[in-house]
C-alpha cells in the first residue's frame, strides 16, 4: 500500500468540501484526509497493472445504451414536482435570492 505518499492534503479537502457545499468540522479534517488517502492509495494499486492493450470497459453486462423515441410521455405533474419544495408560489420553486 502506498498510503505513505499522500495524494490529498487538508487544503485539497477544504476545496472539495467547498465545491460540494459540505460543511466539515475542523476536528474531522485530518481524519478525513487520512481516509481519502487510504482509499486513493488502495485504488492506485491498479496503476501497477499493465493495461496498454486493454480497451476501456464501460459495462460488464454487454448492454448498449438504450434509445427512446422522441415522444412526450411525461410532465404536467407540477404538484408532484413541487411537493417537497420548502417554498413555492404560482407554480415556481421559491429559493433565497441567487444573483449572478
Amino acid at each position: 500500500m502506498s498510503n505513505k505518499e499522500s495524494i490529498v492534503d487538508i487544503p485539497t479537502v477544504n476545496k472539495i468540501a467547498r465545491l460540494s457545499r459540505l460543511n466539515i468540522p475542523e476536528a474531522s479534517k485530518q481524519n478525513l484526509t487520512n481516509d481519502l488517502n487510504n482509499i486513493l492509495g488502495f485504488v492506485a494499486q491498479l496503476d501497477e497493472v499493465n493495461t496498454s492493450d486493454v480497451k476501456p470497459l464501460a459495462s460488464v453486462t454487454g448492454h448498449k445504451l438504450p434509445l427512446r423515441s422522441d415522444k412526450v410521455t411525461d410532465g404536467n405533474i407540477e404538484d408532484l414536482v413541487l411537493k417537497n419544495a420548502p417554498e413555492s408560489s404560482s407554480g415556481f420553486f421559491v429559493v433565497p435570492k441567487v444573483i449572478e
Binding site: 434509445l67 422522441d70 411525461d74
Partner: protein
C-alpha cells in the same frame, strides 16, 4: 492617426501599434425535439411554470436518464453538415456545479469524447469574400432551468421547464479575426441548422445563443489571455460585445496591465462588458463519466442512412442557382440565406427568366414584405403568381412599369397578375396602328415642337416619347413607340 485609414475589420489602432483580435465561439443550439434529451417531458417553449417537468428533470432520487434518439440523429446530421468527423463512440460526463436552477447538481454533457469532432465551414463576408472557420467539436448536453430574480425582493423564482432540454454545443476553433466574421459565422451556423432542421435558430426565444471567447495580440504574437462573454442572443450584440471587449483589453494591456481570464456579461444598455461576480472555483467542474449512461454507440451504416437524409446545403445550393438560373453569386447568396427563400424562388422561377425573377423577388417582394412587416411564408403573393408576373413581363404583355402597379395590386388583393391585367385592361399595346394613332395625335397637338425638333433640337425626342406613353396610360410598348416615332419624325 493616419494609419487608422488602413485598419482592417478586427484591428484596433492602439497607442503602441495595431492589435488584432482572436475570437472563438461556442454556440448553444436547442435541438428541435418534441421531448427532452433524457426524459419524456415536453421541450416546448412558453408553457406554465414547471409543467414540462418529469421526475427525471426534477432529479428525484432513483430516476434514470434515457436518451432521445431524435436528438442523437440531429447531432450527427449537423455534424455531417459541418463537414465534421462523426465519433461512433461518445461518452456522457457529469459537469458538476451548484446553482438553484440545476436540480441534479450537475449538467449531463460530453467532455472527453464528444459525438462530433473536427470540421469546418465557409463563411460569407460583406465584401463578397469567403473564409474558412474550423470547428473544434459538437457535443450534446442538457440545458439548465430558468431563474427569475425580479419577482420578489429577497427570493428567486425557479422554473424547471427548460431543465434537461437538449442542446448542441458547437465550438469553433479560434480562427475568427473580427466581430464581423463572428457575425457571419453565427449566421452561417444558424442557416445550416435551419436547413438541416436540427434547430429553429430562433435567437429571440433563446434557441440559439453564443458565448464568445475574445483575446487580443500584436500580429504574429502568441495568443493573449482570453475572456469569455456569456449568453449573447443576437448577431448585433455579438458584434458589439466583441468590439467593446477587445478595446477594453487593449486599453488594459497598453497601460501595462494584465488580462484576468474570466467570464464576463454584456450589458446591452451600456454596450460594454462587465465581470461576472463568479466564485474563484467556478470553473472547477470535476467532470467524470456519468455512471447512469453507457457510451453512445452507433454504426457507420446508421450514419450513412442519416447522410442520405441531408438536404442540399446552402453552399452547394448557391452554386447550383448560379448555374441553373443564371443569377449573380450575390443574388444567390441572399436567396440561400433561408430555406424558405430558395423554395419560394425555385417555384417562382420555374420555366421563367431566372435573373428577372431574382430581381423582382429580392427588390420588390422583399422590400414590400419588409415594409408591411410580413414574413415570406405569409406573403400575399404566391410563388406561382410572382412567376406569372415575370412571364407577363417577359412575353411583352405588360411593361416593367405597369408590372409595378400590378405588383402593388397583388400585394393588396392577392389576385393573380393575369386577372388584374385583364380586369384593368393593362395589356401592353404593341400594335403598330394603335400606336401610330397616338403618335399622330401627339404630333398634331405639338406642331411647334415638331418644327424645333426637325430644326435640330434632338433633345425633344424624349418629350414626344413621354407624351405618347402618357396618352396610352403607360400601356404602349416603349420600344415600338421609339421606333415608330423615329420613322415619323424623319
Amino acid at each position: 492617426m493616419n494609419e487608422s485609414f488602413n485598419l482592417k475589420p478586427g484591428q484596433i489602432n492602439g497607442e503602441t501599434g495595431i492589435w488584432e483580435m482572436v475570437i472563438g465561439l461556442e454556440i448553444h443550439a436547442q435541438i428541435s425535439s418534441k421531448s427532452k434529451l433524457f426524459s419524456g417531458a415536453s421541450a416546448s417553449f412558453g408553457a406554465e411554470a414547471n409543467s414540462n417537468v418529469s421526475l427525471v428533470d426534477a432529479a428525484m432520487p432513483g430516476m434514470l436518464p434515457v436518451i432521445n434518439e431524435f436528438c442523437v440523429e440531429q447531432a450527427v446530421k449537423t455534424g455531417l453538415a459541418l463537414n465534421a468527423k462523426i465519433n461512433n463512440v461518445s461518452i456522457f460526463d457529469r459537469k458538476n456545479y451548484f446553482y438553484a436552477d440545476l436540480p441534479q447538481g450537475y449538467q449531463i454533457s460530453q467532455f472527453t469524447k464528444p459525438i462530433v469532432g473536427e470540421g469546418e465551414i465557409i463563411i460569407d463576408l460583406d465584401d463578397g469574400l469567403q473564409t474558412t472557420i474550423g470547428i473544434e467539436r459538437l457535443h450534446l448536453e442538457q440545458d439548465a432551468g430558468k431563474s427569475l430574480h425580479d419577482q420578489h425582493p429577497s427570493k428567486s423564482y425557479i422554473d424547471l421547464n427548460r431543465t434537461g432540454v437538449a442542446l448542441m454545443e458547437i465550438v469553433s476553433k479560434p480562427d475568427i479575426r473580427s466581430p464581423q466574421e463572428a457575425g457571419a459565422y453565427v449566421k452561417k451556423i444558424r442557416s445550416i441548422l435551419r436547413y438541416v432542421g436540427a434547430c429553429d435558430g430562433n435567437m429571440e426565444e433563446g434557441s440559439l445563443r453564443a458565448d464568445c471567447n475574445v483575446s487580443v495580440r500584436k500580429s504574429g504574437e502568441e495568443f493573449g489571455t482570453r475572456c469569455e462573454i456569456k449568453n449573447l442572443n443576437s448577431v448585433r450584440f455579438i458584434i458589439q460585445a466583441i468590439q467593446s471587449e477587445a478595446e477594453r483589453q487593449v486599453e488594459i494591456l497598453e497601460e501595462g496591465g494584465k488580462i484576468n481570464q474570466e467570464t464576463r456579461l454584456f450589458d446591452t444598455s451600456t454596450g460594454e462588458t462587465r465581470s461576472m461576480r463568479s466564485k474563484e472555483d467556478a470553473h472547477d467542474y470535476r467532470y467524470f463519466p456519468d455512471p447512469d449512461l453507457l457510451p453512445l454507440e452507433f454504426s457507420d451504416s446508421w450514419v450513412q442512412k442519416i447522410r442520405e437524409t441531408l438536404p442540399e446545403l446552402p453552399d452547394l445550393l448557391k452554386k447550383r442557382l448560379v448555374t441553373d438560373f443564371g443569377i449573380t453569386p450575390y443574388d444567390a447568396s441572399i436567396l440561400v440565406e433561408e430555406k424558405d427563400y430558395v423554395d419560394f424562388y425555385q417555384k417562382a422561377a420555374n420555366g421563367k427568366d431566372g435573373k428577372l425573377t431574382a430581381n423582382w423577388m429580392i427588390t420588390e417582394l422583399f422590400g414590400a414584405l419588409k415594409k408591411e412587416n410580413i414574413s415570406l411564408s405569409n406573403s400575399p403573393i404566391s410563388p406561382e403568381n410572382l412567376g406569372q408576373l415575370i412571364a407577363l413581363i417577359s412575353d411583352g404583355t405588360i411593361s416593367g412599369k405597369i408590372a409595378k402597379d400590378v405588383f402593388a395590386e397583388m400585394m393588396i388583393s392577392k389576385k393573380s397578375p393575369s386577372d388584374i391585367v385583364k380586369e384593368k385592361g393593362l395589356e401592353q399595346v404593341s400594335d403598330d396602328t394603335e400606336i401610330l394613332k397616338l403618335i399622330d395625335k401627339v404630333i398634331s397637338e405639338n406642331e411647334d415642337k415638331v418644327k424645333d425638333y426637325l430644326g435640330g433640337k434632338d433633345k425633344l425626342f424624349g418629350f414626344f416619347v413621354g407624351q405618347v406613353m402618357k396618352l396610352s396610360q403607360g400601356k404602349a410598348n416603349p420600344g415600338i413607340v421609339n421606333k415608330l416615332l423615329k420613322d415619323k419624325l424623319k
